[in-house]
Amino acid sequence: MFGWQDIAHRYRRSRVGAFWVTLNMSVTIGALGLIFGTLFRVPIVEFLPYICISLIFWTFIASCINEGCTSFVDSEGIILQVRIPLFVHVLRTIYRNGIVLGHNVLILPLVLLAVGRPPTWHMLLAIPGVLLMALNVLWMMLILSVVCVRYRDLTHIVQNFLQVIFYLTPLMWMPQTLPDGPYRLILEFNPFYHLMMLVRAPLFGELPASANWMVCIGLAIAGWTVALHVYGRYRHRIPYWL
C-alpha cells in the first residue's frame, strides 16, 4: 500500500530530471572510459562496458547508503504526524534509487551494442545478483538510518567512508591489475567487491565465483540479524530523537 505511494511520489518528482540522470551518467562513463582506458592501456572494447557496469551499480549502492543515513531525518514531518511503520521510509529511499538505477541501466545495452558484445544467457544471472545486492544494501541502510538519527554527523563519516571504498573496490581499475600476494586481501575482505562481482561477472558472460555468492548470502543473513535487532530495539525511540 505504501509502496504505491512511493511510486506516485517519486516518479512525479523525477519526471523532469529522470533522463538527465541517464544523460549525466553516460557522459561520465564515456569520459572516464576514455581517460582510464588510455591510462591503463586496456582496449576500449573491454574497458567501456566494464566501467559502465561498475559506475551504474556503484552509484546505486553509494546513493542508497548515503541517502539511507538521512531517511528518517528527511521524513521527520511525516514521522511526527502519521503512524506508519518507520521501515517504510527506508524502503522509500531504496525504491527511489531503484528507479534511478532503472534509468541508468538503459545505458548498458547501448554500450554493449556499441562495443559489439552479443547478449548471452549468463546475463540473466545478473538479475538475482542485483536482488541480492539490494537486499544487502537494505540492511546497511536500516542500521545507518537508525544510528544517524541519533548521531547526526555519522552521515558525513559514511560519505567519506564510501569515497574510500570507491577507490579500494575494483570499479575504476580491474582486479587483474592487482599484483599477487597480500594485496589480494583488498578484494577478499571487501564485501563491496563481492557484491559487485555478483552483477558484473554475469554481464560479462561469466559465472560469478561461488565464493562471491557465499559471501553475499552470508553477509545478508548476518546483516539482517543485526539490523532487525537494532531496529527492533530502537524503533520506538526514533521519534524522540528527531
Partner: protein, 247 residues
C-alpha cells in the same frame, strides 16, 4: 471497537544540543574517562508527560486544555501512537488520524489532482477508495480547472482549500485535532465548518486540543486539563471549563 487506554504513561525527551549529537564528542569523552562528561555534555532529559492515566471508550469526545508547553501536543502524539511511552503502557485500538498539519505530504510541483492522491496516501486512504472519491474532493475544493495546474501556482487561500478538502475526506475511527481547522473566504469557511463537523460527528473517538471555550463546550463531553505534563483535572466538560477558563 475503538478505544484508547493509557496507564501511568511518562514520556522523556532526550534533548541533544549540537554537542551530544556528535559521535566525535561521544568518543572523545569516553577517552577522557567518562565520569565528568555527564555534567557538561548537555544531555538533558525533559519530562514531557508524567504519570498520565487515561481511558477513552467509543463515543467519547475529549477536549484537551492547558497552557503552552503543558504537554498537549506530546499527549496528542502519544494518543495517536507516534510517541511510544518511555514508561507505562499505551493501548490504542482503532485507526487513528491526526489532522494537525493539513499540508503534510503535499508536493508543490505536482498538480492539484496529484496532490489529492498524495495527501490521501499519506493519511492512509486506500488507493481504490481514493479513486472513487477524488471527484467529490475536487468538487468540494471548488478549484475547478486549477486542479490540473501545479500546486505552487495556487494562491495561499487556494492551497489551503485543497489541503482541507483532501484532509477531511477521511472517516477515521479516532480523530485527533489540534485546534479547529477552518479556512478560506466566507463562503468556503461555512462549508468547511459544516464538513469538519460531519467528520467530528462520525468519528468514534474525538480528541480536540483547543484554547477556545466555546468550541470545547460545543464538541466535547469531557475535558482533560494538562499542566506541567500532568493531568491537573479530568472531568465533565462544563466543570473543567469553568475551572480552567475561570467562570
Amino acid at each position: 471497537m475503538a478505544s484508547i487506554r493509557l496507564s501511568n504513561v511518562s514520556v522523556d525527551f532526550p534533548v541533544f544540543n549540537a554537542v551530544t549529537r556528535s559521535l566525535k564528542n561521544r568518543l572523545l569523552s569516553a577517552a577522557t574517562g567518562g565520569m565528568i562528561d555527564r555534567r557538561w555534555d548537555g544531555h538533558v532529559i525533559v519530562r514531557g508527560l508524567q504519570d498520565v492515566t487515561l481511558a477513552l471508550e467509543e463515543g467519547e469526545r475529549l477536549g484537551l486544555v492547558g497552557h503552552n508547553g503543558a504537554g498537549k501536543t506530546t499527549l496528542l502524539r502519544v494518543l495517536s501512537g507516534i510517541y511510544y511511552p518511555t514508561q507505562g503502557t499505551s493501548e490504542i485500538e482503532g485507526e487513528c488520524v491526526s489532522l494537525i498539519n493539513m499540508s503534510l505530504g503535499i508536493d508543490p510541483e505536482a498538480t492539484g489532482r496529484e496532490n489529492i492522491k498524495l495527501r490521501g496516501a499519506i493519511m492512509g486512504i486506500p488507493a481504490e477508495e481514493l479513486c472513487e472519491r477524488i471527484d467529490e474532493i475536487a468538487e468540494f475544493s471548488g478549484l475547478g480547472e486549477f486542479l490540473d495546474m501545479p500546486f505552487r501556482t495556487y494562491s495561499s487561500g487556494m492551497q489551503l482549500r485543497l489541503a482541507f478538502s483532501t484532509s477531511t475526506a477521511i472517516r477515521p475511527e479516532i480523530l485527533v485535532l489540534d485546534e479547529w481547522l477552518s479556512t478560506g473566504d466566507e463562503n468556503f469557511r461555512e462549508r468547511s465548518n459544516r464538513r469538519l463537523q460531519e467528520i467530528v460527528n462520525s468519528t468514534k473517538i474525538l480528541i480536540l486540543a483547543s484554547h477556545s471555550k466555546d468550541l470545547l463546550l460545543a464538541n466535547c463531553s469531557r475535558i482533560v486539563w494538562m499542566e506541567h505534563g500532568k493531568v491537573r483535572m479530568d472531568g465533565p466538560a462544563a466543570e473543567v471549563a469553568r475551572e480552567y477558563f475561570g467562570g
